[in-house]
């Protein structure tokens, strides 16, 4: 499995490098965080194309599956993700949160029937969202350039590395049984896509340029996540310093 992921990563980087050399000069970059905008926009279109197929499946899932089942599915994958979230909280020095995540796994895997019911939340052990990209950020690793990947979408360089680590420890992708692995991964993918449907609607209406809107939102969101909801104010966010710049 690890070899497969390594191969996949190499293939992705090779594709990336090739595409980069093709579109590098034709880049329409106007955001310093996004020097590969030409390539990224191409990948964005690829994903929009893939989504033409994926979105109806997610919509069907959302419409047909009863709410209780969807909640169970979400809880199940949430429980599978919790151990790694615990590790990341601990790596970031957030001992209480990490311990709470461990508690969640213990409670939900047993009382919560293999994670289908989120008993832990009712007991006050709140669900967290941590990943290795956030841990790297907490350790002071810079964001790096913005990249738009096929299938997985927006990731800056730091989060791309983080994602590679997240994937390498993902229990579902490490499952030995191929059909179980594929089924679980497929359901998780559709469940995740379905959970984004309401966001879709808002972005569709709000954005003048969807690519641009998502890029800005991504940087804001990740910055907020790394700082656990209290990011320091940005210099250029300050609308009272107009006269500083020429």
């Amino acid at each position: 499995m690890k070899r497969r992921i390594a191969k996949l990563c190499i293939a992705a980087f090779a594709l990336f490098a090739t595409a980069m050399s093709l579109v590098g000069c034709a880049s329409t970059a106007n955001d310093p965080r996004d020097p590969f905008e030409g390539f990224n926009r191409a990948m964005f279109s690829v994903n929009e194309g893939i989504d033409v197929v994926v979105k109806p499946v997610a919509e069907g899932y959302d419409a047909l599956v009863p709410g209780l089942v969807k909640t169970g599915v979400g809880n199940f994958f949430g429980n599978i993700a919790d151990p790694w979230i615990a590790v990341n909280n601990l790596l970031q020095g957030k001992i209480a949160e990490g311990a709470s995540d461990v508690g969640r796994v213990l409670v939900n895997s047993t009382l919560g029937i293999v994670g289908l019911i989120d008993v832990a939340s009712d007991l006050g052990l709140e669900k967290h969202a941590e990943d290795f990209g956030q841990t790297l950020g907490k350790w002071g690793v810079g964001e790096g350039y913005y990249l738009y990947w096929p299938l997985i979408g927006p990731r800056n360089v730091r989060d791309t590395l983080g994602f590679a680590v997240d994937v390498s420890v993902d229990p579902i992708l490490r499952a030995h049984d191929v059909s179980a692995r594929n089924t679980l991964n497929g359901v998780r993918f559709i469940d995740t896509r379905a959970s984004l449907l309401p966001v879709d609607k808002v972005i569709e209406a709000a954005a003048f340029d969807k690519y641009n809107y998502i890029r800005n939102a991504y940087f804001q969101m990740r910055r907020n996540a790394v700082h656990d909801g209290s990011p320091p104010p940005l210099d250029d966010d300050d609308d009272e310093d107009e006269d500083k710049e020429k």
Binding site: G67, D118, N216
Partner: protein
């Protein structure tokens, strides 16, 4: 029709009761949120995606507590000062229409989520605060929903809404800045009004 009037009456009453409490921004946010949600919870049309009805609700209940001039200024950054008072008014009107239309839609997606209000930590006498709330959804991590408010002559007004760390206002900054630099303030006004017309035409 009778239902409409009782709704209107309810709205008027709760807005005035919200106004009475405006000395505390946390209380204001809680009051307005709970009022709006209790209406959405009972309204099958809104749950079914009736855009016009949601917008009426938002107009009546939510908008009085927003400062759209300040929001637009924040979205435009330095370019705001290039606009004359008349342009500023038109910009704020168009931006308001866009935000209302866009995010009212989100309310129609409201189902069985509940809200949690976090105690605000602010120095006494501060004229600028962030009120933090969370949308609790079954089977998921709570979604942070923060409001920035400033105190003006007519009480506390919201000037930014931040969902999961994403400011719905500053997310437009580089789009707006680029447009003003390329086509001037009037270019941005046109861009906003075109978008609003397109959204108006697209709704059912």
């Amino acid at each position: 029709m009778k239902r409409f009037f009782s709704l209107l009456l309810g709205l008027t009453l709760s807005v005035s009761s919200a106004l009475a409490q405006e000395d505390s921004p946390d209380a204001l946010i809680r009051q307005v949120t709970e009022d709006v949600l209790s209406i959405v919870r009972q309204d099958k049309d809104i749950q079914g995606g009736d855009t016009r009805k949601v917008i009426e609700l938002v107009d009546a209940k939510v908008l009085p507590h927003f400062n759209f001039q300040r929001m637009t200024a924040l979205a435009m950054g330095r370019e705001w000062n290039k606009a004359n008072p008349d342009q500023k008014k038109r910009l704020a009107d168009e931006f308001k229409t866009l935000l209302v239309r866009t995010y009212s839609n989100a309310l129609t997606g409201y189902r069985d989520q509940t809200m949690r209000y976090k105690p605000a930590s602010r120095p006494a006498g501060d004229a600028d605060v962030v009120v933090k709330t969370e949308v609790m959804q079954p089977g998921g991590k709570p979604i942070p929903l923060d409001y920035s408010l400033g105190k003006g002559p007519d009480g506390w007004k919201v000037y930014d809404v931040i969902v999961a760390g994403v400011s719905l206002v500053t997310n437009y900054r580089d789009t707006f800045t680029q447009e003003v630099r390329a086509n001037g303030v009037d270019g941005l006004i046109k861009m906003l009004s075109d978008k609003n017309k397109q959204l108006e035409a697209g709704k059912k």
